[in-house]
């Protein structure tokens, strides 16, 4: 190239200089970021390998007929269509789970709030009471408690023995499809300890002088509760309600133990997660179970979004 500009001798050193600058920049970039990413490394590996990767794979599997034996075959929306239109067990599981949520969460929160308010009066022995009420929550997740519950509500169990003192002949609670779900509701309500502790923490935040001012103005106890306690507690109530509801959707162990893994009698204790377990690890319909899992996420997401949207109308943030 005759008319090509001949690079002046100095340019080389400029390039070199720029290279050195770039290298320095890289070094600085490395020095600034490497420690952070090294500390984050285990979590990053876990996130990609055990969370994001598997989540994407299960999304893919939910559109297949994967059964662990053959490689997955694409079936499009077939799983979802079947869930929505032609799966009586899914409907039963939804019905059981929603019944459980609708009955257990409000009762649990009501007990938690009532007991927290009783304990918030500067009583002597508060730590002991608090501990006693919290103990069932702490033990609650275990098989032993589910076993105990099964016995309590058996036809010859403790509850019926207690009822017979009053001359009432109780039904066989756990083997009767109309009552079995309510034994699980009772178990959930018995474990109101965690929301109670959160309510106690919330009640402590309410300044005492508000009540003093209100009672000087002649407001009754009930009015104080309705006008001071309840509005100021709404953020805590909201938090507890969302957490407990999501948790209730995911309940598994008690139903599994009490029904011997069947969700019976007549699907009356077939929690959603129990059905998912049966499909995945009982029948090895992994594709179908993946679709069930994504439906569960969708339900929880819709519920949570709905809660947050409606919370503007009743939750009172006073910051």
């Amino acid at each position: 190239m005759s008319n090509a500009m001949r690079t002046p001798a100095g340019a080389i050193s400029v390039e070199r200089y720029q290279g050195a600058v770039a290298e320095g920049r890289l070094k600085r970039l490395w020095n600034a970021n490497a420690p952070g990413y090294l500390f984050l490394l285990p979590w990053l590996v876990g996130f990609f390998g055990l969370t994001l990767g598997p989540a994407l794979i299960s999304l893919y599997l939910s559109f297949t007929d994967f059964d662990m034996l053959q490689s997955p075959r694409w079936v499009g929306m077939a799983n979802y269509v079947r869930i929505a239109t032609a799966d009586p067990k899914f409907s039963a599981a939804m019905h059981v789970t929603l019944t459980y949520v609708v009955f257990s969460v409000p009762f649990k929160l009501t007990f938690a709030l009532l007991v927290a308010m009783a304990l918030n009066r500067g009583l002597r022995g508060l730590p002991i009471y608090r501990a006693i009420f919290y103990l069932p929550s702490l033990l609650g997740g275990s098989v032993a408690i589910a076993v105990l519950w099964r016995q309590l509500f058996a036809s010859d169990g403790l509850v019926n023995a207690a009822l017979s003192h009053f001359g009432i002949e109780g039904p066989s609670w756990i083997s009767h499809p109309n009552y079995s779900i309510y034994t699980l509701v009772a178990l959930s309500v018995w474990q109101f300890g965690s929301p109670m502790i959160i309510f106690l923490a919330g009640l402590r935040q309410i300044p005492q002088d508000m009540y003093e001012a209100a009672s000087l103005d002649g407001a009754s106890k009930f009015r104080q509760f309705y006008k001071i306690t309840l509005p100021l507690l709404t953020p805590v109530i909201f938090f507890n309600a969302v957490v407990q509801t999501i948790d209730a959707f995911k309940a598994f162990t008690p139903a599994f133990i009490i029904s011997g893994g069947t969700g019976g009698p007549i699907n009356s204790t077939l929690f959603y997660t129990l059905y998912l377990y049966q499909e995945a690890f009982g029948n090895f319909r992994m594709g179908y179970a993946s679709a069930l899992a994504w439906i569960l996420v969708l339900i929880i997401a819709v519920f949570t979004a709905f809660s947050f949207l409606t919370s503007r109308y009743w939750v009172h943030y006073d910051d």
Partner: protein, 292 residues
């Protein structure tokens, strides 16, 4: 200021109430406490009763105390309960170790180190708190099956060493942020590496939160039923929860005394933690709003 100045009496937050009112409250609370504890006490008493008496009585006081149910239940299955206890203990301790190490490393990066993309990853981490594990369950199972890990404790333990319990990361980040920044900035000035700051400053100052995470990890793992149910199918690898469930389903289900004895035993470690670390547990719940 001299010592002779008496401090003003702090305003009491206990409003004076009439004696009958607080008696009523106490009576109600005591009744409620008894109702709450009754099933648990009944189970313990059923485990030391003579077999014939278990269902005939709603009282808590056994006519005679007899520990033979424990001896029977302990060897009630082909594999003894000692084995199940050992398995549960190994898994629980490994999970505690994994959670404390991995989650504190992660939380330290989020709370104290500056790096490109930190806020992005932090948001992602909080996002993983919301995702039910059912979504990753099946591909994880297939992965562990391919690795040949099914029927070993690895699927239950290894994820914890990769900080899979985002909840504890969140808990620790909250705590780390409360430690004065001047401490690590001064150490930085003196040329301390990030690792030394984490090891020599952060961890020693964070014992309360590490203990809280360790205790909750232990209890949740000890009580976990779903994970072992899926990954452990040889009775020699069973945890205490699986052993108990097998005991319920086995022919010895007629051995109610043995069943309640073993049930009681599985609750003992959790109860022990409750007795000794109640304050940490309750603070942990009150500050973060845990569900259990």
């Amino acid at each position: 200021m001299t010592a002779s100045v008496t401090a003003a009496r702090p305003p009491s937050d206990i409003t004076k109430r009439s004696l009958p009112a607080s008696l009523v409250i106490h009576a109600l609370l005591i009744a409620a406490s008894l109702l709450m504890l009754y099933p648990l006490l009944w189970m313990v008493s059923a485990s030391v009763r003579p077999e014939t008496e278990i269902f005939s009585s709603t009282s808590l006081i056994p006519s005679s105390i007899d520990f033979s149910s424990y001896a029977r239940g302990w060897v009630g299955l082909d594999v003894s309960f000692g084995r199940f206890f050992w398995n549960s203990l190994v898994i629980s301790l490994l999970v505690v170790t994994g959670n404390v190490i991995a989650c504190s490393l992660t939380a330290f990066a989020f709370a104290r180190l500056r790096f490109a993309g930190r806020n992005f990853w932090f948001a992602i981490m909080l996002g993983t708190l919301m995702i039910p594990y059912h979504v990753t369950l099946i591909p994880q199972y297939v992965l562990f099956l391919d690795l040949g890990w099914v029927n070993t404790i690895l699927p239950l333990v290894v994820p914890k060493f990769l900080a899979s319990d985002a909840f504890f990361i969140f808990l620790m980040v909250q705590f780390f942020r409360g430690i004065p920044r001047e401490l690590d900035e001064a150490a930085m000035m003196d040329g301390c590496s990030a690792w030394r700051i984490y090891w020599k400053i952060m961890l020693p100052l964070s014992l309360p939160v590490l203990a809280t995470a360790a205790i909750f990890s232990f209890i949740w793992t000890w009580d976990d039923f779903f994970g072992p149910l899926i990954y452990l199918n040889d009775m020699n690898t069973y945890t205490i929860q699986l052993g108990l469930r097998t005991f319920v389903d086995s022919t010895s289900a007629s051995d109610w005394g043995g069943l309640f004895a073993m049930s009681t035993l599985t609750l003992v470690p959790v109860f022990f933690f409750f007795l000794f670390f109640q304050r940490l547990l309750i603070e942990g719940i009150a500050t973060t709003g845990m569900k259990r």
